[in-house]
Symmetry: C2
Subunit: 157 residues, 2 copies
């Protein structure tokens, strides 16, 4: 299932979006897919997890995604962690860690707060190498493009 999330991340990459992908799974079937489309639609809520969760809700005609699992290539942020708890997702599997904004293990443990009415089982580091390599390649390419643009500008001046 993380391979399906990686395939979603690749779709984001093609759109020149930060390559993050997610799928929601129930009874072994994918019922929601999403990839980051924040820039394309200029919508701050269009994270991979949010889009996968919204599609799953539509499919099940229910905002409760009990007995559903979410696979995502990067550790969810605060917003997506909140959506995961609100939807009562059972298990979350993620690939790469996000030390700057990750809210599952890095900055917070939002999926395991006993004060909330739902807790989520978390497995981290699933296909971590591939997930983080895809992000690294993307940002390296962005830096390369920026450097080339600066060089071109300097040559013009």
């Amino acid at each position: 299932m993380m391979r399906a999330a990686l395939a979603e991340a690749r779709q984001a990459e093609v759109l020149n979006e930060v390559p993050i992908g997610a799928v929601v799974v129930k009874d072994g079937q994918i019922i929601g897919r999403g990839h980051n489309m924040r820039e394309r639609f200029q919508d701050v809520t269009y994270h991979a997890e949010m889009l996968a969760i919204m599609e799953a809700c539509e499919k099940l005609h229910s905002w409760r995604l009990e007995d559903c699992d979410l696979y995502v290539t990067l550790e969810p942020c605060i917003m997506c962690s909140g959506a995961i708890v609100n939807a009562r997702i059972k298990n979350v599997y993620y690939g790469a860690s996000d030390p700057k904004a990750g809210a599952v293990d890095s900055l917070y443990h939002l999926l395991n707060d006993s004060r909330l009415n739902h807790q989520v089982n978390v497995t981290s580091g699933v296909l971590q190498g591939e997930c983080s390599q895809m992000l690294k390649n993307f940002f390296r390419e962005i830096r390369r493009q920026k450097k080339a643009a600066r060089k071109k500008r300097r040559a013009k001046d």
Copy 2:
């Protein structure tokens, strides 16, 4: 502006949704409105704040809502707090506190985490009496309806 958020909350109430409303404001103009529609659309992301933020992004053609303020009748949850930080909203004004799920003051202080790349100015308790009374009335009515239904069922048996 909290009156406009309360008017949104009233629209949720009419739909038999938990009455929560929000508006996003820029330069004194409302650029996004939202009221809770989770049950109606069976979508876990359809909180008042999320819908107001999405509308504001669409209006500005930008996921960055810098120099925008958000007014909401109830203290935002984790998901909505994450969206507020991600969108870089400047000021948040909320009415009633949410001791069970509020992530601005009650359970967390997510809008003021110096580790994140954005912090938000928060003002709580704006028209608190009206905001919380609307919620109390709603839940009282729900309880009344449930009690009446139980009574009816017992009379049948």
